[in-house]
Symmetry: C2
Subunit: 241 residues, 2 copies
């Protein structure tokens, strides 16, 4: 495992990213699987260079995993309990992959660096799922979208990080008007309603919902979307500049 | 200046606290003045022990400065630009106080530790101003309440931290129903209205305001508050358990 103590990172500080996408009435999260034997699932994360703003570090990590460089993101919470570290999962990983050389592995500098307590800055990101090209690295065997209700058990406290990100997203939606970042540039009112219904797990009355969204005064109405279907063509909208 | 590299703190990570109090239609912030020649004003801040949760560290710092141990606090934002460090103010402080030994001072270990880049976790706290007994230490020459509109220039980026805390407080008020932490246990509707008007710098119509607050369904009405004055005695309220 290539750990990167030689790259002049800030010690004991990491960035964890919960990347949300939306597709077919499912809210999805981008989950990585570590490139080792054993089911070590994680969310994209990384460290902060000494010469780098924390927001820049988050953008770098997100771009490396999604291929998108102007991603919408919000710093939402710091995870800083004293017993938060990588040691437990790292020891499991080593026992699984290098059973004959545990004592040797745990002696190396990189293990010492990586297994310390880490305070993590949590970011959540909203992306148009069609624009993402999940990018692997040496560290990741796979990187895939999972429905938020079907995420496998994650290492460290990442389950808690994902849940906290979801709760913040729910709080932020109307305040920051950011949910539109999950959609392509142009979308119908029904597509927004589908997203709200998926995230909040409830249904809305169509006319009331449309009124509520239009009152946010953030959308511009465009041409109609003709699909050739029998029902009336709906209007397209986009975010006002 | 007693710096504390020997106390096993996490490197390059600090906690900054914006402590809000309220009195006489003024929103106030607790400001410290460093115990050196020169006008070095700051907000209470500190570092995180290796064995300490970040919230615990914030509580410890707040208790040390206010004497209150069950203070209401919220982590609200991380300040992590790459050029954020203590070096500029530290060099000014040394030039002011030890003009003849600048090179010597800047050679010591503690200077090296303290002048590095620091990522800071911002907390805001709400206190009943009457319960606070501002506590000095060797590092602080004074610790006093300032009206938020009359805070002196602060070191590092603390002006920005205070402003960000105020903006978060405004966003949180109705959502977290936390403004009552600025008042004693029992209070009148007019006292709450005064706080809202002070924080948002606008006036509210009394009947509408009362309706809005009661609809939050978080207050319990108590006995009337008899003051001996001619006008009608107002009811007292407290937060529901």
């Amino acid at each position: 495992m290539e750990l990167l103590t030689n790259q002049n990172y800030i010690d004991q500080l990491s960035i964890d990213c919960v990347i949300f996408g939306y597709e077919n009435k499912q809210l999805k999260v981008l989950i990585t699987k570590l490139n080792f034997k054993g089911n070590f699932y994680a969310i994209p994360s990384g460290f902060i260079h000494q010469e780098e703003d924390i927001d820049e570090a988050a953008r770098r990590i997100l771009e490396h995993r999604t291929g998108i460089n102007n991603i919408y993101l919000e710093e939402f919470k710091v995870f800083g309990s004293a017993n938060r570290n990588n040691k437990e999962f790292l020891d499991q990983l080593i026992a699984h992959n290098y059973p004959d050389s545990i004592s040797e592995k745990t002696n190396i500098m990189e293990y010492q660096w990586f297994s310390k307590r880490f305070v993590s800055i949590g970011y959540y990101a909203l992306v148009d799922i069609n624009e993402v090209k999940p990018c692997l690295s040496e560290v990741y065997a796979s990187i895939e979208w999972f429905d938020i209700h079907q995420i496998p058990a994650l290492i460290i406290d990442y389950d808690k990080v994902v849940l906290a990100a979801l709760n913040t997203l729910k709080e932020d939606i109307d305040k920051k008007l950011n949910v539109f970042n999950l959609l392509p540039e142009k979308f119908t009112m029904m597509e927004i309603q589908d997203i709200y219904e998926t995230i909040f797990e409830k249904t809305y009355v169509r006319t009331n919902f449309q009124k509520k969204i239009l009152e946010l005064n953030t959308l511009e109405r465009l041409e109609k979307k003709f699909t050739g279907a029998k029902n009336k063509a709906p209007y397209l909208y986009k975010i006002k500049k």
